[in-house]
Symmetry: C2
Subunit: 660 residues, 2 copies
Amino acid sequence: MSYENAWLAYQKKPPTADAAYFSSLYVEGDHRVIATAREELLRAAREMFGKDMILCENREEATISFIWDRMAKTGEEGYHVREDNGKITITSEGPKGILYGCFACIRWVKMEKPFAGMDLLEKPSNPIRILNHWDNMDGSIERGYSGKSFFFRDEKVLVNERTRAYARMIASVGINASVINNVNVKGNATRLIDPVYQEELVQMAEIFADYGIRLYFSLNFAAPMELGGLSTADPQDEQVQSWWQEKMKDVFRRIPNLGGFLVKADSEGRPGPFTYGRTHADGANMLARAVEPYGGIIIWRCFVYNCQQDWRDKKTDRARSGYDNFMPLDGTFLDNVILQIKNGPMDFQVREPVSPLLGGLTKTNQMLEVQIAQEYTGQQRHVCYLIPMFREVLEHRTYCSNEQDTVADIISGRTFHQTNCGMAAVANTGDDENWTGHDLAAANLYGFGRLSFDTDLSSEAIAKEWIACTFGTDPEVMEKIEAILMMSWPAYEKYTSPLGIGWMVNPGFHYGPNVDGYEYDRWGTYHRADHLGIGVDRTSHGTGYAQQYREPLSSQYESLEKCPEELLLFFHHVSYTYRLKTGKTLIQHIYDTHFEGAEDVEKMAELWDSLEGKIPEKSFERVQNRFAHQMDHSKEWRDQINSYFYRKSFLEDEKHRTIY
Amino acid sequence: MSYENAWLAYQKKPPTADAAYFSSLYVEGDHRVIATAREELLRAAREMFGKDMILCENREEATISFIWDRMAKTGEEGYHVREDNGKITITSEGPKGILYGCFACIRWVKMEKPFAGMDLLEKPSNPIRILNHWDNMDGSIERGYSGKSFFFRDEKVLVNERTRAYARMIASVGINASVINNVNVKGNATRLIDPVYQEELVQMAEIFADYGIRLYFSLNFAAPMELGGLSTADPQDEQVQSWWQEKMKDVFRRIPNLGGFLVKADSEGRPGPFTYGRTHADGANMLARAVEPYGGIIIWRCFVYNCQQDWRDKKTDRARSGYDNFMPLDGTFLDNVILQIKNGPMDFQVREPVSPLLGGLTKTNQMLEVQIAQEYTGQQRHVCYLIPMFREVLEHRTYCSNEQDTVADIISGRTFHQTNCGMAAVANTGDDENWTGHDLAAANLYGFGRLSFDTDLSSEAIAKEWIACTFGTDPEVMEKIEAILMMSWPAYEKYTSPLGIGWMVNPGFHYGPNVDGYEYDRWGTYHRADHLGIGVDRTSHGTGYAQQYREPLSSQYESLEKCPEELLLFFHHVSYTYRLKTGKTLIQHIYDTHFEGAEDVEKMAELWDSLEGKIPEKSFERVQNRFAHQMDHSKEWRDQINSYFYRKSFLEDEKHRTIY
């Protein structure tokens, strides 16, 4: 299947003064990643300016110089780009910094920023910036909305030109690691650590290495049984331990550039240490010891909860489970273990509070997990630009110290002086021509990379960059698409489940409205709506979840008045007639936001329509078709939610709009 | 996989006087089905009495005689069994009658009825008694709850000893036809009419023929395109017509004992005549003409409705669609077309009114379709003896004539002097050892056969027969299992959706409670519950469905007071505070029946438990395990339904039981 180059598609530029910079290149330092940077720069010059850059033997003759300088004070992955007197120098302590600096220059061109006087020193905010692909070896993708896998097909590993296209795309926005297989490791995926897929995996690892990307696999905790024929996977069992040690010795020897492993254990039916009465620390540390000699990392997911709840039980609370499971273990994990924590306590809803583990844990390496696969946010058929949501999470103050207590501070390693930490995103890619199904969903992939590299970038700045790189700098295009992106998450939030309560989707596939879809289910995802009100009491009178936060957050969430209203129904059971700060009743707020949300979609669609002729036709039509569906579907959401609450409450819409 | 013999399992009998009858056999008439009868009788004598019957050359010497007498006045499939002076004679006009008479004698033994003075003349009520298997060629069974298909596996047709076991089992209860493949005909199943599966299908047809069973296939209306490479399947197209004529000539020549075809057209995404602007009569008649030279029958399903409804539209009514589609065509179908009509207008709910097509149509061959696969009645994990439901349908007066106007009259051919008519059941079998998953579900398979052969048999009589044949005649066993069976359908109705409204199940797989599961869906299956009431107004003020019935039914359904209460919510939107004839409010009725239903399950489970030691262990445990689940699951139903209505209505249970 053919593929496009997304934000790396280079169109020929009209001649400008800046073209002169792309005349000749000097490269100091010999490294495969620097060689990649050189090729990327040459390609960009050729495709954008129609110029074949001359490779110079000495720096003075070159218009652009790459300088690998171990004393550059940029860090291995930072870079310093300076323009001086018609010449550009990209300096870094490490080869990856050179590559990132090179992509920064290309971005500069695409955004039509003048190079004159440029002086840009950038260091990545997060040490690890990783994608988690949920790709299965049969070619399907769990929660994939952009076609099939380009890593696997028919139980085989795929390596082809698209592998390289993928690597350069994610490296161009600073992503430095990738887990290629689903965290739910089954069947042949368990064998990725076996020699059987050796040849293709080495090829892939080499391509990744060219772009400074570490290869990771998801691991099956039960592998000692499934592959090794042992009768147990108990982490305290010596046979199990030595099986893993041998296996890791073997796999790190065979596959260069292997970063480590991602593990989902004891969750949603996956095997784990609980089976043997062991803790997650026992499980993670055993694996960490096995990979430690090779510099390997174990990333351990904190998505552990009881998925056999009873809706009649009002005490058990899925939201509590991450904290309840992992807080007692704080400080017991080895240094090459990272806990990967979802942004919220539930599961990637359109609105959740920040997980109390973030800022709760103080002696454990932490990675923030977000999901750019739009599982619960429109599945890449609705536009939903998620960077503003991620920014809110990053800016969230946890009060775990007096300063530098935001989530961004913690996961960057600043707060607790850690280096094994960062950001992970569940990827939204597939083998669709445009990689992400919805063309505008590429802004989330681009944005995740850029934001994880620089957590100070604003959502708007990222949007502008992406639009310019993807669709060019026509001011109307820039403005309107930015407007669409910035409206999209709030719109989606408005027409779906209200005020932080979440869910209300069709069970299983998680698409489309179904208010009671999970209400009587075993997943612990309830809204408790009745004739008088809705919401889950998670205060100390209820499940006590609010108490998992540090002060003043805890008191704030406890209080009906002080609780941020966008999270009101997550923390409180509230009467439909309760007056919000706007003066509206809760029920009127529900009606109003649902009508507004659907109207917002019409506005976004109109904005898009007005760009006809300014956007490549194929892309224009793909997005237009998706907007047609989104308009229809947002009305379905609006009508189901409004009808549900009207039928239950019998409270009239003050504006007398149609509610069925 | 091994299999049991269900009600044909013969245990050694203690010596009784009746054993003497099974000494010698005289057979008059040479026919494969009579040969089968002979073998069945010899086997029964051997296994029950340990006796090898002697085959006699003349009638006087024999204790049992088979007499194929074309003047016997029994009809081809009827039989006359008479005992006289220590000798039994089974007489029939046709070989099938002999076989059925033979099985009647075996049943007699198993029920321990004395043969002395026996004089039994039986003629089948319905000409066609057919099973519809929804088996797919990959081995799966649509709505199958008893394992995999024993007809197909891995895209191949299976013929083995189980094929014969199946044939004798269904012939033993008088079933004379079987459609072996799913009505949703896709992929290789379209090719069953091609020579490719010739060898196996002929073998199967021969086995069926030994037992007097006609083989039927489900047909893909689009076969001329998919197999023939034509660009259309338009029934008015001459190329299409001649393609079918050639195809039918070929298939009837190749496969002996072929009865005809079942067609689901223009339904739930299946192709059909509507695609070409033709009527169902055009489609059915075209096929009928093609099979007519070979005595073939076209069974045309009337399950046609718009499955793209909008829940916001309160005028369209799925219940109306069968009548709306087919009534205008009455009288236009050829004589070898049979319309197969589901018992109710929706889809095999635990309670529905009888389809108004039954008794609406007066000039068209009709077959009643029931479903013994328990799709909506507990999926063979709950016990639900369906014969009482079928009996109610058969006894339903349609008022299409002054007398002989019941459904039983119509489908037997009595009312309109038809011969192509009868009863069909969607089968509940699979390759589970016990054939039907739940051991007690075999009573539905047995019962369907017996009831379709003799629509005058009571549910209790059928239950007694089945119990005696399956578990023996111990009075405690007989009484308790009969009690369980007779309680089971009312219990299931009590704890699931109330008063005929139906649905309230999880969409797609149709198992377990989900009150709003279909409420906002496109399938036209709504309950319209709000704060004050529930139900669908199908009177002339609503969708007008009630007007599709003849008087006095129509007026009866129109009236809130006269409407049978078990169908109240099917026809009326009713306030929760409406007083039923019992004096209870509707809401109290909902609460009470749901508590009662769950209690009934406990009673049934206790009855079963008390039979420990009297039932073969394997069977006992299988049923016990299923009862454990049913107890749990009926409480889940009770609690979800009660909570849903309590939360919506805020009307208290008068008895103050726990509602969540």
